[in-house]
């Protein structure tokens, strides 16, 4: 198992959390965390994914101790 610090931003926090340490099976990708947390990506599509402060895709495989930050897409002007 791996422990991931998951940080949620803006609209993802409602009914969820700001920051939590969560445990996942080894080999879990970012996408797996998105599904497991149940954040509302249909309503608020994913914008930026950061792992340890660097940009990655949803397919990125996480490692024990990673800090994953998820930001909804923001496009208003």
């Amino acid at each position: 198992m791996i422990e991931i610090t998951v940080k949620l931003f803006a609209q993802y926090r409602a009914d969820h959390f700001k920051l939590e340490k969560r445990v996942y099976p080894k080999g879990t990708a970012v996408e797996g965390v998105i599904i497991e947390t149940g954040i509302p990506i249909e309503r608020f599509p994913i914008g930026v994914i950061m792992v340890n402060g660097r940009h990655f895709q949803e397919s990125h495989i996480l490692e024990d101790g990673d800090i994953l930050s998820l930001f909804p897409k923001v496009g208003g002007g």
Binding site: F9, A10, Q11, R13, K18, R43, F44, P45, I46, G47, V48, M50, G53, R54, H55, S69, F71, P72, K73, V74, G75, G76, G77
Partner: protein, 266 residues
Amino acid sequence: MELESFLRQCALLDATLSLDDHRHATEQFGLSYREVESVALEMGIIPLRYLRNQSTISSAQQKILFDSHVLIVGCGGLGGHIAEILTRIGIGRLSLYDFDTFEEHNLNRQNFSTLTDLGREKALVVKEALERINPSIEIQSFVQKFDPLKEKQRLEEASVVIDAVDNPQTKLDLAKSCQELGIHFVHGAIAGMQGQFTTDSTLEQLYPNGERGAELVSGNPAFTVTLAASIQASETIKLLLDIGESLKDTFLVTDLLYNEFEKLPL
């Protein structure tokens, strides 16, 4: 009397030029406000309207701003407020683009949207309002959708290009064109109480595709808009004056619901 002597006399006490003297100079010498201001700034005399810019902005820097050209794409929430800030601070040339007209649902946040201007073209209304604030600024407004991939010449004429559109695909295209042309590009976007910003970066990392984001559900309240406009305006001023630290290669997220400012590398 020569204009220079006139200005020198006007500025004897505090090295500023009052609006009354500015107006007298235009009448006496048959010049525009812009022409008089250009000569005054060249002489180190600043129009009184800019006095409270100092000493954050020096007289020499005021001249740099006067000689600058900023292109603002979008005259809605972000663009209208940014345009006002840049006009008051003394950017010499502004180009404004917006194809849209003011509608009732713009009244919650869009600068210069009033009951009397509903139905009118945003780019024209904003230009008129800015000219009432500062007659020395050269303002061109274009009632059209800006196509960043086709209008590269327009981009090349600008010192800084500001992203104030509400369409991720246009944002992506604008960032790409500016990067190719080596022109400063200031990105901003909002949704609900959240804002995001970066400077001189392409936006592929922020927009996986050209589809709309959280703003469709969360809307755009006025306080988020004005905060975002302030950040984009200050980025622009820093780039023009080459001061401080810009958001180059940096992703700034603001969240007023939690009073958070998060800065991450891009």
